[in-house]
């Protein structure tokens, strides 16, 4: 047989999302084995690179969430080792992972993203930036979402409904990253659009996540089966679906994603406006994850989805920003 046979699934690692990554990795490994690949699961620890050098895989399937896996670290290493890998390249990973940069790029490109302000811990310590809080509050308005600039899975994401809750929320978020975002809270419906190269219009059907009990789509409900109800395709007016998919593809292109990515959006109550929250270059692949659900709604089985994702390792155009010419 020709083509790649030996695939290393990179999973685990040191990030807070380690457990989710291990679950994604396990699903991916099982699927690739069903497809007949020689699969090696590698937990991204101190011996990862020696293990890769010894294994000499035909491709690496990146299932690492958070630090190392989504910020471009692993992707740069794999390029140095000349091992083809799934998904976006280092620069795109960096753009997507740094929420501040991603949102600034979106604003410049005219893509609607919730009004926000970034704050660095050092600016509070060294520049007295705390004194600007009043002005920031007046500018953005409450309630505010406070989130670490890096990381996914809602770790350290806080709500502040007024000025007295804000310091506590900020200190909480600073526990996870030296830079945080204060973002105007958009009340509405949680939507996710996965983009997959090779799909018509590149976008998969829209998924809506409906949290069951938490007021906020938090870490627990995101990963515990039964905590969240998923609706796919989301029940939306046709033009909203089209617009959400268009926005997702625009963000995907803007940030230079490759192969696949998941773009999270909010559909604002009342106004019906769509706001882009962020793009994820290593979407979850667990049993409750959104990308597999969206693919399923588009008629792609989990294993077919894996084949498509794996193919992204081999059609990378050097120096190309996105999938469009």
């Amino acid at each position: 047989m020709s083509g790649p046979r030996r695939v290393a699934v990179l999973k685990g690692g040191r990030s807070l999302e380690r457990a989710v990554s291990l679950r994604s990795g396990a699903q991916i490994q099982a699927g690739l084995e069903r497809l007949g690949y020689e699969v090696h699961g590698l937990d991204a620890g101190t011996s990862l690179v020696p293990e890769l050098l010894e294994l000499k895989p035909d491709a690496a399937f990146v299932a690492l969430h958070g630090r190392d896996g989504e910020d471009g670290t692993i992707q740069s290493l794999l390029e140095a080792l000349e091992i083809p890998y799934t998904g976006s390249g280092p620069s795109s990973c960096a753009r997507c992972t740094e929420k501040v940069l991603a949102k600034q790029l979106m604003l410049e490109a005219g893509i609607p993203t919730a009004p926000f302000l970034p704050l660095r811990e050092t600016s509070i310590r060294d520049l007295g930036a705390g004194a600007a809080l009043g002005a920031i509050e007046a500018d953005l308005g409450f309630p505010l979402v406070v989130k670490p600039a890096k990381g996914g899975s809602a770790f350290g994401v806080k709500f502040a409904s007024d000025g007295h809750e804000l310091p506590e929320a900020m200190v909480g978020a600073f526990s996870y990253d030296g830079t945080i975002l204060l973002e105007r809270h958009i009340r509405g419906r949680d939507l996710a659009v996965s983009v997959l190269d090779g799909e018509p219009n590149h976008a998969l059907p829209v998924v809506e996540a409906v949290p069951r009990e938490e007021e906020f789509f938090d870490y627990e409900s995101r990963y515990e089966i039964g905590m969240t109800t998923f609706v796919c395709p989301a029940e939306l007016p046709a033009e909203t679906t089209t617009r959400a998919q268009q926005l997702a593809v625009e963000v995907y292109d803007l940030l230079g994603c490759h192969g696949f990515a998941r773009v999270d959006l909010m559909l604002e109550d009342g106004t019906g406006e769509l706001w882009v929250l962020e793009a994820n270059v290593v979407p979850g692949m667990t049993e409750t994850s959104l990308l597999p659900q969206a693919a399923n709604a588009a008629g792609l089985s989990f294993d077919e989805l894996l084949e498509r994702m794996l193919a992204s390792a081999f059609d990378r155009r050097q120096g190309s920003a996105g999938h469009t010419k």
Binding site: R14, L16, E17, R18, A19, V20, E121, I124, R125, G128, G130, L133, F155, G156, G163, H164, E165, L166, P167, E168, M170, V171, G172, A173, F174, S175, Y176, D218, Y219, E220, Y223, E224
Partner: protein, 448 residues
């Protein structure tokens, strides 16, 4: 299950470079390897038996040792009323399996044993938590809860309590409350699950009678309680690796536990049961060697506890309050209410230190957010000092940041000049959580 985020975070604390004050570990390095070998050699003399299945209720040679351990705490028990289990944890599971249908009520302390939370959740129990003070669970508060439940037509299946050196609170239920708890249980015919893993690990003060012994006294039948299910374990006085615990229970409950255990694992390991028996037989007559080992552990843990007390005094100072356990493994510390210890843990693991965030001890996964459980037993004095120093640094980092953001100085949990809380000082606001905001010091104070 609300605690998955915490579980993910705890997974990161298991890295070797992290000083973990999070575990529930005793120090097993103190058990002499030669003695282990000698005991195992004894076990091997009856290898065919050790390698065979055993009776579900446990081997008689082991239940005799259990009766000896309980006697050392002043509790008389008939070895035939004992069921040997796979760790004390299995007792909690079996009691839930036997008694709890989804929605049934369990009354527990607040905070409660973090390891019981997933079990209670798995059986879909509805858990009512009673806030403790320095004397453990206040029985008047328990009665209020029972009255309220009765008014709702609900009756708890059992009351779960850890009377000695509570995990995670570190407090001990007073004698008066023990007596009253037994009275209340008898008046209302309620079962009590008495979880007593650390009773023999007392570093100061007088031992108190177990609820089991008080209830059998009240029943007029020494060594046979009507309403108390007693949970014991070898994990903290000998070794958790043996995976041996036990329950002593009223006959009807015992029979159901036995049935449940048959379904769960048929029997606990005869190898480790025989290890216990051989170990208890070692050292001859004068004083049992197992008690000498417990004495050694007491000396070791007392020193470590005191090391943690002084490290806390030095590093947490006026920014926290903590309990003063007379025994056991844990101290419960409560910080400025604006600090969330789950977030603090994210920062602390980067500094190479870990603890259990207070939320882990609450069913709702939200209360206890400013508290933490610290283990002093399983780590060296040096690591205790360094670990507390690192946590202290992260607390100060967060308080400084809070100060710059809110324009007011960090809330002092107690005046700097005040003496550390002594054992007899009321500590309601040390243990009770979330700490009640004092007028003028709370987040929603009048200055806004």
């Amino acid at each position: 299950m609300k605690s998955s985020a915490m579980r993910e975070m705890m997974a990161l604390t298991e890295r070797p470079e992290v000083i973990s004050l999070a575990g529930g570990l005793p120090d097993t390095s103190t058990f002499p390897a030669e003695e282990f070998a000698a005991v195992m050699a004894d076990v091997s003399r009856d290898s065919a038996r050790a390698l065979q299945y055993g009776p579900t209720e446990g081997m008689a040679l082991t239940t005799r040792c259990i009766a000896e351990v309980m006697a050392a705490e002043g509790t008389k028990v008939d070895p035939s009323e004992v069921i040997v289990t796979t760790g004390g944890q299995q007792v909690i599971d079996l009691v839930c399996k036997t008694l709890i249908d989804p929605g049934d009520v369990i009354v527990a302390e607040a905070p409660t044993y973090p390891g019981a939370i997933p079990t209670f959740s798995a059986y879909q129990a509805s858990v009512e938590q009673i806030e403790m003070d320095s004397d453990g669970m206040p029985i008047d508060a328990l009665e209020e809860t029972l009255d309220r439940l009765a008014a709702e037509g609900r009756r708890p299946k059992f009351i779960y309590t850890i009377p000695n050196f509570q995990n995670p609170g570190g407090v001990t239920m007073s004698l008066a409350r023990r007596r009253r708890l037994v009275e209340v249980a008898r008046e209302r015919e309620l079962l009590v699950l008495e979880d007593n893993p650390y009773g023999l690990l007392r570093y100061e003060g007088e031992p108190l009678p177990t609820l089991y012994s008080l209830d059998s006294l009240a029943a007029g039948r020494e060594g046979a309680s009507d309403l108390v299910i007693y949970l014991g374990t070898f994990s903290k006085i000998l070794s958790p690796g043996l995976r041996l615990g036990w329950a002593v229970a009223p006959r009807p409950v015992l029979e159901k536990l036995n049935l449940g255990k048959q379904g769960a694992d048929l029997c606990s390991s005869p190898v480790t049961q025989m290890f216990v028996a051989a170990y208890f037989a070692h050292g001859g007559s004068a004083q049992s060697s197992w008690l000498r080992y417990v004495e050694r552990l007491r000396d070791l843990y007392r020193t470590r506890r005191d090391a943690m007390f002084s490290a806390l005094e030095e590093q947490f100072g006026e920014h926290a309050e903590w309990t003063r356990p007379e025994g056991g493994l844990f101290i419960w510390a409560t910080l400025d209410e604006r600090i969330d210890t789950t977030d603090l843990l994210a920062l602390a693991t980067k500094q190479g230190v870990a603890f259990v965030p207070g939320r882990a001890a609450y069913m709702d996964g939200r209360s206890g957010s400013s508290s933490m459980r610290l283990n002093f037993a399983g780590v060296s004095e040096e690591d205790i000092r360094e670990g507390i120093r690192r946590i202290g640094r992260t607390i100060r980092t967060q308080l400084d940041l809070l100060g710059s953001l809110s324009g007011r100085p960090p809330e002092q949990r107690r005046p700097a000049a005040e003496q550390p809380p002594s054992a007899d000082r009321p500590m309601a606001d040390v243990v009770a959580l979330p700490p009640r905001a004092k007028p003028g010091s709370g987040r929603r104070s009048a200055d806004r």
